[in-house]
């Protein structure tokens, strides 16, 4: 469970987050939508203590993230926008193993987690392949596997599929669906909800650093358009 209370964050004296409160239950599929500059990225980076709040608090499973970053980072897995900058090894298996290695797990457990995470994103038995030779869609899925290898309760994806074509996005989204079906919570951060609106349990709209609305998908369409987020039109995907 992710609990956000009265969160304030400032960059160079400017308020990027201005009193955000939010609760995300285990296993929930949440779309966090907002236009560029609304504070989405700043908010989710607090979930695993990559940023510390100026006021307010984020709790992961009841423990403040800033007090126990290891717990926050194992419980909330992060997938960032450009996969190329988040890979830390030249080959698929070595990259996915990076997180479990940092946890000090033994080699058998690391191998098991790598195999399982790659299996979950349809990349089984491709440990030895060079990441730079994969397609964009495959890279996005390996990035997801890198987060999954920590066995997180929540997976946070920050504009993860930018620049991917529809078949690549569809394939990655299907993997998210099956993860969600197995109980992993998904937090999908985007300024374009067309692919994900129907999948979500809830849509949280962020505008100028505050929560503008927090609604079921069907009720959120109109409000999303108001804050300049692209929504599925009639006849579209």
């Amino acid at each position: 469970m992710i609990t956000v209370r009265d969160l304030v964050h400032e960059f160079d004296g400017e308020r990027v987050l201005d009193g955000v409160s939010l609760t995300i239950a285990d296993g929930e599929w949440v779309v966090l939508a907002g236009p560029n500059g609304s504070g989405k990225t700043t908010l989710v980076r607090q979930f695993n203590a990559l940023l510390e709040p100026d006021a307010g608090e984020v709790q992961i499973g009841g423990v403040p993230a800033a007090e126990n970053p290891v717990r926050a980072r194992t419980s909330v897995g992060m997938v960032f926008q450009s996969p190329r900058d988040q890979f830390v090894a030249a080959t698929v298996g070595a990259d996915v193993a990076f997180g479990p290695e940092n946890l000090g797990l033994d080699h058998d457990e690391i191998d098991r987690r790598v195999a399982e995470a790659l299996g979950a994103v349809n990349m089984a038995d491709r440990e030895e392949e060079r990441i730079d030779e994969l397609s964009g869609g495959e890279q996005a899925r390996v990035a997801i596997a890198g987060a999954l290898a920590m066995e997180p309760d929540h997976l946070v994806l920050d504009e993860p599929f930018t620049g991917l074509d529809w078949p690549a996005r569809r394939s990655a989204l299907q993997r998210l669906d099956s993860l969600a079906a197995d109980g992993t919570g998904i937090v999908f951060v985007t300024h374009d909800v067309r692919d994900v609106l129907d999948r979500a349990d809830r849509v949280v709209g962020l505008e100028s650093g505050t929560v503008a609305f927090d609604l079921p998908p069907d009720d959120a369409r109109e409000r999303l358009a108001e804050i300049d987020v692209r929504v599925p039109g009639p006849g579209a995907g």
Binding site: R73, V88, E101, L105
Partner: protein, 234 residues
């Protein structure tokens, strides 16, 4: 270009720590030892390393041809003087003795490069260099290796963009400055994103170290390394 190539040779199967030790002690033996009498034996040993790694002498020579060209300038230019007597053969011979030592070292390193993936060298560093420094060096080597193709692609695009905007007609200073600034800016932006990604995955001082283990043959390799390192004392 000579880089790691997967294979099943004996050299491929050896522990990287033993192979690194042999490389360095080979260099000690050849630079600190009595060069001339030993040189044929060292050359034979170096060729042996090449063959164990499944490389031909010809391939090694071709890989390092620029270095060999520079080395060959040693005796040629070394023998020439700017005034009478114009040619001093004994000076050329001195130089030949000196540059000849480098050739076997090049062969041994070609055998290493061909038979050892970077991640094994990284593991050897992390398991040999103690403490936090070893951890930073090991992870740093792996990350640098991973980012070289990414940065190469960035630079290629920057160069094309500068050319497309008529950069060729600009003065050198302007053009070189522009390319360098753009390449640095892009690299530092990547560094910022990498930094966040490393933290998100619990980058720690005390991770599980990569697997490495010594087989009996690796002890023989270590013994060879020790013998080579001590040989100048004979």
């Amino acid at each position: 270009m000579l880089t790691y190539t997967p294979g099943e040779t004996l050299a491929h199967r050896l522990d990287p720590r033993g192979k690194l030790a042999v490389q360095f002690s080979f260099a000690i033996a050849i630079f600190a030892g009595p060069a001339v009498p030993w040189l044929p034996a060292m050359l034979a040993l170096a060729v042996g390393c090449l063959l164990l790694a499944g490389l031909s002498v010809w391939r090694a020579l071709r890989t390092y041809w620029v270095v060999l060209l520079v080395l060959s300038l040693g005796p040629v230019l070394g023998a020439v003087t700017l005034g009478p007597p114009w040619i001093q053969p004994e000076r050329g011979l001195d130089s030949l003795r000196s540059v000849a030592r480098v050739v076997p070292v090049l062969f041994v390193s070609a055998a290493f490069v061909h038979s050892t993936p970077v991640r094994e060298t990284r593991a050897a560093i992390q398991r040999t260099v103690p403490g936090r420094f070893g951890q930073l060096l090991g992870v740093g080597v792996a990350l640098t290796f991973r980012f070289i193709p990414v940065v190469r692609e960035d630079l290629r695009r920057i160069r094309e963009a500068v050319l497309a905007r008529g950069g060729e007609r600009r003065p050198l200073r302007d053009r070189a400055g522009r390319i360098t600034t753009l390449a640095l800016a892009r690299s530092m932006a990547r560094a910022d994103r990498l930094s966040v990604a490393l933290q998100a995955r619990c980058f720690a001082w005390n991770p599980t170290l990569p697997r490495l283990s010594f087989a009996p043959v690796d002890y023989a390799v270590l013994a060879l390394a020790a013998g080579l390192a001590l040989s100048p004392l004979l």
